[in-house]
Every structure is written in C-alpha cells, then in structure tokens.
C-alpha cells in the first residue's frame, strides 16, 4: 500500500507542483526523442534492404534459378511464378555514348502485376514487334545514352563463332521503365525471349526464373531441392552476396551507434533518478524515521523511473513508426533537390518494421537504464532519518 501510494504520488504529482509535472513530461518526451531516430534509421535500413532485395529478386535473379530443359514443367504450392528467361550481356551504344548492359530475354506474361509495379510500367503489353528488335531500357540508361522511347540504338554482342567478327545489332526502344534504383536501372535491358535466343551467343543462358510465395521464402533450399528434381539450381543470395554482406555489416555498425546513444540516454535516466531522490531527500528521511524499509523505497523509485522510461520508449517507438511512413516520400523529395549521393540508395521503399530488432533496442534501453538507475538507488541507503532535522 505504501509502495503504491508513494509511486502514485511521484508519478502523478499534485497540480501545484508545476516543476515536477513538467519534469515528468520532459523526461518522457526526451526518451521518446532518443528512440525516434533509432527507429527511423532501422526502418530506412530494413526498408531499403528489403526493397533492393525485392527488386533484384523480382527483376533480375528471381528467388531461384533452375537450370532445366526448355520443356521442364513445374507445379508446386510454394511457387508464385516460374518464367523461362535467357540472360546475356553486351554493349549498347547510341551516337553519343555506350554502356555495358545485362540483356534479359523474356516471354509474354513475364511482367506480372508484381513486376509491373516495380518497373512502373504503363502497360504490360511491352516489347511490341517493330521493324527492328524491340527492347525496353530504363529511363536512367536512356538518359545516359541521350535517347528516348522510339529511338534506335545498337548492340555489340559476342560473336557466335570464333574468327567471325562482331556485328552490331540494331534495336528500337519501344518501352522504358523506372525502378527508382540506379544500380539496377543503369544496366538492365529487356528484350523478347526469341530475339535473345537468336542473337545471344549459344542462345544465351536459359533457365527457369522462379518466384516463391511469401510463406515459402524462408524455406528456399527445401523448396529448391523439391522442385528442381535433380537439376542444378541457385538462389538469389548467391548472386548478390557482396550486396547482402555490405548490408549486414552496415547494420552491425548502426547497431553499435545505437548502443552508444542508448548508453548516453541511460546516463540521462540516471540523472532523472538522481533528481527525484534529491527532491525527496527530506521526505525519504522522514519515511525512514517513520519506519519505511529501505527496499520499499528503492523499489518505488526504481519503478517510477523505469515506468517513465518505458512510457518514453513506447511513445518513441510509435512516433518513429508513424514518421517512418513519411520517410520514403521525404527522401524522394530530397533526391529531387539534386543530392547526387542519394542515387546510391533506394529511396522508394515500403516500411518494414523489424519487430525483433525494435524489441532488442527497447530491451537494451531498459537494461541500460536499470543498471544506471541501480547506481543512483544507493543514495537512498545513505539518507539517514536524522536528515529530517536538517534543512538544505
């Protein structure tokens, strides 16, 4: 009863104790303020990483690549789509510029709604036949080559036969796309499957590009072994190991920075506890003089401070998540300001909330605060009931 009464008194000070009320509100908001950028950084990193991963999977590598014959049929509940594609590369050139590119030959039906959304296509009816080979390039590549939709460009491909010179392949840009991710956009060119087989040396590298359902993505190798039926296969992370490891390392560095910030926030929580005890100095002496136990008092102050910390934590998390939804539009707006460095990042991403990581940050904050507050509680022990007779 005493504990509850005292905690209530500390958490809900009377209206005339303006300073105490303000202190409570200030502390909650300060802790929330610390949490907000941590949450935003996490959302940015995870959102960007997920977004980039999704783009590579959807547009370049698929979840799985099965190296099966042309007539190989596939039917499994874990599979969202399976499209036969052919890969190769070449050099694309216009009158003014040239660039090395990845060529991807696809069939009708490859551009399902998911891909369509990623590529920002106006229509899936792309690569319509023209007098020359139709291709689809990114707006980024078109700008680099100084060409537009409808213009003609040329390719050099590896000569089919030894000793035979390379011949330029004329093509027309019938469509353009934009994934908002420079790294992907700058090098990927789509053409018709039949054209790719015709022009790429040895018909290019043909395989089945498989997209899995959301549930099956965590069982990549299990599904692969099941559906490949003995044929060789590869998964998306094997093609993008460097990108993946870079992100993992960046994440680890960010977490290190988080911990340091939380450490300093823990110092603030210790100050708060110190302040509360200081302000209650005479009262604590009086409680002790009236018979209150040390452990009761320590428990009360610990609970009050941790409750304030938790409130700030939760508020910060919620506000951070809320602001996270505004992050991508803001970054996109910022990129239009001309900050070149932003092109290395994917700015158009969905909000991904890594609850496990948020829990980890929250738990770290609670642990650090517990430790720092614990140190200040030792002061309560030192307050003698005799202090009630002295004035500050």
């Amino acid at each position: 009863m005493f504990r509850t009464w005292l905690s209530q008194h500390l958490l809900l000070p009377p209206k005339d104790l303006v300073y105490s009320r303000r202190r409570l509100v200030r502390s909650v908001f300060l802790i929330a303020l610390v949490m907000i950028p941590l949450v935003l950084a996490l959302i940015f990193m995870d959102g960007m990483m997920q977004g980039i991963t999704d783009k590579y999977i959807l547009l370049q590598d698929g979840h799985l690549q099965l190296y099966t014959p042309e007539d190989f049929a596939i039917d499994d509940a874990a599979i969202f789509s399976a499209d036969r594609v052919v890969n190769g590369y070449g050099i694309i050139y216009s009158k003014e510029q040239s660039s090395e590119v990845k060529l991807k030959g696809v069939k009708t039906g490859y551009f399902n709604p998911k891909r369509e959304a990623e590529l920002n296509l106006e229509t899936t009816d792309v690569l319509q036949r023209s007098s020359v080979t139709p291709i689809m390039v990114s707006e980024t590549l078109a700008k680099m080559l100084n060409v537009e939709k409808g213009d003609r460009v040329a390719f050099i491909l590896i000569p089919e036969e030894e000793g035979r010179g390379a011949r330029p392949l004329l093509a027309q840009i019938t469509d353009t796309y934009n994934t908002n991710y420079y790294e992907l956009d700058s090098a990927l060119v789509y053409l018709d499957y039949a054209d790719a087989q015709k022009y790429l040396p040895s018909g290019g590298k043909s395989y089945l590009e498989v997209l899995l359902t959301a549930k099956a993505t965590n069982q990549l190798s299990t599904v692969a072994q099941r559906v490949a039926q003995g044929y060789s296969w590869a998964s998306w992370d094997q093609f993008n190991q460097t990108v993946y490891h870079n992100f993992v390392s960046s994440r680890q560095v960010i977490f290190l920075v988080f911990l340091l910030i939380l450490l300093v926030a823990g110092v603030y929580v210790a100050s708060l506890s110190n302040e509360l005890i200081q302000d209650s100095y005479q009262s604590i002496a009086l409680y002790k003089a009236l018979g209150a136990q040390q452990k009761d008092l320590s428990c009360v102050f610990y609970s009050v401070v941790m409750l304030i910390t938790l409130t700030g934590l939760v508020l910060g998390l919620l506000l951070g998540i809320l602001l996270g939804y505004l992050l991508s539009p803001f970054l996109l707006w910022l990129s239009k300001s001309g900050l070149e460095g932003l092109r290395y990042y994917l700015l158009d991403f969905n909000v991904v909330i890594a609850w496990r990581d948020l829990l980890f940050i929250g738990a770290s904050m609670v642990i650090i605060a517990s430790i720092t507050v614990g140190f200040t509680l030792a002061r309560i022990k030192k307050i003698s009931p005799l202090e009630v007779l002295q004035q500050d």
């Binding site: 303020l33 090395e100 920075v257």
Partner: protein, 409 residues
C-alpha cells in the same frame, strides 16, 4: 577567482549533495566524446582508404581532357608536368569492350583502359596500388592485363589469348564493332572491387590509333600537399592549357563522394543526439542548482558581488564540467582507438562463444585515423552547446533579483 572557486565548489565539492548531478553529466560527456572519436576515427580511415583507392586507381587526382592533334600532345604533357603541384601525368582512354575466351567460350563485358606505358615504369599511386599476381605489365601492342576477378570469370591464364570486341570508327557508320586478339600478359589485383570486376589494361598505341578518339585525357597525380587543394593546380593548368576541360577527383566521383559525405553527416547527426540529451541534462541541473542556491547568491550580492556574478558562476560551473568531461572523453577515445584491433578481437572471441562464427565486421583489420581538427571543432561546438543550455536553464530564474529574498526578511 572567487567566481571560479564558487563554481568549482558548486560542481564538485564533496559535501555538496548536488555533486552527483555534475559527475553524471561529466561521465555522459566523456562517453559521448569517446564514442564520437572512435566512430569518426574508424569512419575517417575507411573513407580515406576507399577514396585513396579511387583516386589512385580509378580516376587519378585530376583529369585533363583536350581535343588535339597528335603532335600537340607532347607539348600539353610537358605543360602539365611543369605545373606546380603536379607529380606525374599519364594519357589514358577508357572504352567498353566485350571479352571472350575462345578456348572455353566464357565471355564477359568490361572496360578496357589504354594507358601510357610510362605508368608501369615509374613509382606512382596507380602502379603502387596495383599488384601483379602473375606475368608482366602489358607493353606490347597486343598485350593485355586482366584482373584476377575477370581471369576467374573467363577461366584464363597468363599467355592465353582473348578476343576483345570494341567500338571503332566505321567506314559507313560512325561506330562499328571490331574484334581484336590480345594475349594475357599479366593478372593483377587491386583493392577496388568495382575496378577489378570490369577493367582490362593495355598500353597498345596501335589500339589508340584504331580507336580514333578525338579527345585525349591525361590522368594527373598531384604532389602530397596538393591533393586536397587541387583548385590551385586547376587554376594554373587552365592558364597553361586554356582549351582543356579539367575535372578534379571529387567532380569525377561526385555521386560517390557525395554519398560518403552524406554518411558522415548522418553519423554526426546521430551522435549529436547524445550531446543534445546531455545539454538538456545540464539545463535542468543548472536550473535546479540555481533554485537551491538562491539564498547564497543573495548574500553574495549583499556583500558586494555585481549582478552578473550568478550568471558567471553557473556558466563557469558548466564550463568546468564540460571541459573535464571532454578531456576524459578525448583520453578514452584515444585509448580505445589506439587499441581498437585488440578490443575488436576480444569482442569477436566473446561473440564467437555464442554464435560459433567470426564476425566479418569484428575481424576486419581496422586502422583508425584521428583528425585533430575534427575533434577540436566537435569539442568547441559541445562547449558552446552546453553553455547555451546552461544559460537557457537559468535565465528565467536570473531575471529575478536574488536580493529580493532579503528585502522581505
């Protein structure tokens, strides 16, 4: 002197119940500063290393591009070399190519850099950062050096032949593909992954002629003191070669450089949060202490201390706490950065107990780079910030004349 004494006592006096607030803030400042120093030292080195690779291998310190006849190139080269701050210069050309190994049909796209053969003969940042794994530098007309990454992708060795397809001026079209044979004279490696994955090197003058480029680019390496002050060299070069287009490595790698700068700014913003929290701490601690010491301040006024004494005492107190905190932080930061390898190895072995995997981050052979000016600027900014926070914490209370406490006695 009285003010300093009072300020010190208010901050650190043993009998002072409010000493713990000062100590907590000081510890917080020390942690914040140590963290900032460590992270910046790591970041500086990583970025410095990366930029060093880029400048040495990819873009040179400056690039001077000029449309000229062959006969004028030597004169231009001489003019560049004669410019103060220039260490060396080498003409080069980049062109997109497709490479195929006829023995196994493996192929790849890439970039062929045709570079002045003198680059292999002298010590310069390019040759210093490029390591020959096998063979000799390409000197002949049909010799090419391949990166280790490309050699693995094409599955070829030193001595083997490759077909290289590239664009040259056509007879009827502006550009037409041409396939040439080259012998692999060397396999090399650099620390720049993007360079290695796509670049072949040659010094073939015949190829240069075949490419028929209207513009020649000179890659320029600057002397040590001039690399980050290249604007002076650029100004001088512009006078000597007025028709040339000159770009610095920052301009040539503008997007990349901008991304690195952004990352550093983000790091600063994050870490500045720590000092913001501490500043708020200091504000509330100062205002509390002022409230408690009002009577003492009244007596100081009564015995003749001028009006601004209170303000000075509190600002001095905050200054003392901040200075000590910063000094401690700088000391800790320096200690940590000096022993970063050992520390990370320790943490790696600790996490290994749980994960049974070595962390690539903790196993990385970090080298640190402490920039004194950066630390000094941060320290000054923190100092000003804490003083401002202290002032905002006490200014309302200071408006009330403490003498009033004695008026109505």
């Amino acid at each position: 002197m009285v003010i300093s004494k009072i300020a010190y006592r208010y901050a650190f006096s043993k009998g002072n119940r409010h000493r713990s607030a000062s100590l907590v803030i000081m510890v917080g400042l020390a942690i914040g500063m140590a963290a900032l120093i460590t992270l910046l030292a790591l970041m500086n080195n990583l970025q410095h290393d990366l930029l060093e690779q880029v400048k040495s291998i990819e873009s040179f310190h400056l690039q001077l591009s000029v449309a000229s006849e062959e006969g004028e190139l030597e004169a231009i080269k001489g003019a560049i070399k004669a410019t103060a701050g220039v260490e060396s210069t080498f003409a080069f050309v980049n062109t997109q190519v497709m490479v195929a190994n006829p023995s196994n049909q493996n192929s790849s796209t890439g970039r062929l850099r045709v570079v002045d053969p003198a680059i292999w003969e002298s010590a310069n940042p390019f040759s210093d950062h490029l390591f020959l794994i096998a063979g000799n530098y390409p000197e002949g007309a049909e010799e090419i050096a391949l990166s280790n990454a490309m050699a693995q992708s094409l599955k070829c060795r030193v001595g083997e032949e490759l077909n290289v397809t590239l664009l040259v001026p056509g007879r009827t079209a502006p550009l037409a593909p041409a396939t040439l044979k080259f012998r692999v004279s060397a396999i090399y490696s650099t620390s720049l992954r993007e360079f290695d994955e796509s670049t072949l090197l040659t010094s073939s003058e015949q190829l240069l002629k075949r490419l028929g480029l209207k513009r020649t680019t000179f890659g320029i390496f600057l002397k040590e003191g001039s690399v980050d002050k290249s604007h002076n060299v650029i100004t001088e070069l512009t006078k000597r070669v007025p028709e040339a287009t000159i770009m610095s490595w920052q301009q040539l790698n503008s997007a990349f450089y901008s991304a690195l700068t952004l990352e550093k700014i983000m790091m600063y913003l994050f870490l500045s949060f720590m000092f913001f929290i501490l500043g708020v701490n200091m504000k509330s601690a100062s205002s509390r202490l002022l409230f408690i010491k009002q009577r003492e301040l009244a007596i100081l006024r009564a015995i003749g201390a001028p009006r601004e004494t209170s303000l000075k005492i509190f600002l001095m107190q905050s200054l003392l706490i901040t200075l000590l905190g910063l000094l401690l932080g700088i000391l800790f930061g320096w200690l940590i950065t000096s022993n970063i390898g050992g520390l990370f190895a320790f943490f790696d072995s600790l996490q290994y107990l749980f994960t049974h995997h070595h962390s690539p981050l903790l196993s990385y052979p970090f080298v640190v780079q402490l920039k004194g000016t950066e630390i000094a600027i941060v320290a000054i900014v923190v100092l000003i910030l804490t003083q401002l926070f202290t002032y905002f914490g006490i200014r309302v209370a200071l408006k009330r004349e403490p003498l009033e406490l004695l008026y109505h006695a």
